[in-house]
Amino acid sequence: MSYDDVEIEDMEWNEELKAYTYPCPCGDLFQITKDDLRLGEEIARCPSCSLYITVVYNLEDFLGDSDQRNKNNLHPPKQQPLAVA
């Protein structure tokens, strides 16, 4: 079961991870990429634990935004952990 429902406007864009993020109670971040959102994915996972959240958003808001993203294909692999120093 989803840990929480979080609106996309409450998530933060993380340039390093190329993903929208939200704090996970384990200390890491729930993450979801723009490509995931464009595919209608609504689950943001934490790379460090078993928890996930349900992202509340309008699919239409992300459909018009694909040109530059497809060119760069910058999103990270899903299981990549948070970078540490």
């Binding site: 079961m1 840990y3 409450d10 933060e12 704090p23 109670p25 384990c26 200390g27 890491d28 460090s48 634990c49 078993s50 928890l51 952990p81 948070l82 540490v84 120093a85």
Partner: protein
């Protein structure tokens, strides 16, 4: 003004130095749980499922720790001599070392050395420090206005909050994306709030407030003498001098959010409160522990098996007594995001809740719905007293010798 503070600090340090060295040898610091950001102070970037006794030279030279505050993945230690050390995740500047990198070991916050720091708080990714002269400093992530500087920028060194320049700040409490401030006596025992307010956690308006970057007075506490404040997740809480507990922000157990402080309807007198992300612990003057939001907390790994939520009392979630404590009195409570820790009157540490990262210190990653005894490998000394402190997914215990 800074010079006089320096003088005071130096004098204080001299007086306490001998005494500190003696006590230093016997104060023990233990940590366990999520550790991949260096927050356990073990020097390793990994989770620990059992309590680890820390060997910290930088801490030894700074003097005994009087208070720990644990955030999302960083720790702030306050010494009895008013100094501050921080470690763990530093990528938002929350360690206050002037950079944005993690620190595996406790490091002195040198820019605060001119002050005698008397209170500290670690939020998800920001930090607050209060001096004995009533100055408030903040650093770390400011993107929700949670630093209180009137903008949304982040800082990697503590910056004094100029809004309070004519007021005496006594306490700071940092939540996920907001902060609470308690003022002292002569300026009125006012509670202020700033940062994200979407769940009502600022207590400043009935409307949905996205965020504010300058402190505003929390309404509904004007006539109440508040003695302590606490914040975690999207929750806020305050304790009054006469033992009433006020909570506001995100609702517990699916109850509606509270946009102003709500006094808990209870005949108990509370002496301490601790907040998680979905639960609250309240300690009574008789040493009993009560929990708000308990129907969610502690069954996190097993959510499918949860029974459908009961219709909540419109005034708020139900306060339940924590069972399984064998009628032992509790002397200290702490709450992580989804776990809890208490110290019993016979100086035993008990934990329960979410255990996936070993944050319960029981040697495994299981969840627990009732308090379980944590054993520190060197068997507790008869003359020792304990305090516990929880970060989001980790736990600290400090063992002090009895005076």
């Amino acid at each position: 003004m800074e010079h006089s503070e320096k003088g005071k600090e130096a004098k204080h340090h001299d007086e306490e130095e001998d005494e500190e060295e003696e006590r230093q040898e016997v104060q023990e610091i233990w940590s366990w749980g999520a550790g991949t950001e260096g927050q356990l102070g073990t020097g390793r970037l990994e989770d620990e499922h059992l309590p680890q006794l820390l060997h910290l030279p930088s801490m030894a030279s700074a003097g005994p720790i009087s208070l720990l505050s644990c955030g999302g993945a960083h720790v702030i230690a306050l010494t009895s001599g008013g100094r501050v050390l921080t470690w763990g995740r530093g990528t938002s500047g929350q360690l206050g070392h002037g950079d944005m990198v993690n620190s595996l070991y406790p490091k002195l916050v040198t820019s605060l050395q001119a002050y005698f720091i008397s209170h500290v708080s670690a939020g998800w990714s920001h930090s607050g420090f209060v001096s004995d002269t009533g100055y408030l400093f903040t650093c770390g992530d400011g993107s929700f206005g949670q630093l209180g500087h009137g903008d949304y920028s982040s800082h990697c060194s503590p910056v004094r909050v100029s809004f309070f320049v004519t007021k005496h700040v006594e306490q700071i409490a940092c939540g996920m994306r907001h902060s609470l401030v308690l003022l002292k006596g002569s300026s009125g025992f006012r509670t202020y709030a700033f940062g994200s307010g979407k769940r009502g956690q600022l207590g400043i308006s009935n409307d949905k407030i996205k965020s504010v970057s300058l402190p505003e007075v929390t309404h509904g506490l004007e006539d109440v003498r508040i003695v302590s404040i606490t914040a975690n997740g999207d929750h806020s809480a305050a304790l009054s001098v006469d033992g009433h507990l006020y909570t506001w922000g995100r609702g517990f157990s699916g109850t509606p959010d509270a946009h102003f402080p709500q006094c808990l309807l209870s005949s108990f007198l509370f002496t301490r409160a601790a907040l998680g992300w979905n639960h609250a612990l309240a300690l009574t003057s008789d040493g009993e522990v009560f929990m708000l939001g308990g129907s969610y907390h502690g069954v996190l790994g097993d959510l499918e098996k949860m029974s459908p939520k009961q219709l909540p009392d419109p005034r708020g979630a139900i306060l339940e007594k924590v069972s399984g404590l064998d009628a032992l009195k509790i002397v200290h409570v702490a709450a992580g995001a989804e776990h809890s820790a208490v110290v019993t009157e016979n100086e035993e540490i008990k934990t329960w809740g979410w255990g996936e990262h070993g944050q319960l210190g029981l040697g495994n990653t299981c969840d627990q719905t009732s308090p379980q005894a944590v054993s520190l490998s060197n068997n507790p000394k008869e003359t020792a007293t304990f305090k516990v402190f929880c970060g989001s997914g980790f736990t600290y215990a400090i063992q002090n010798p009895c005076v």
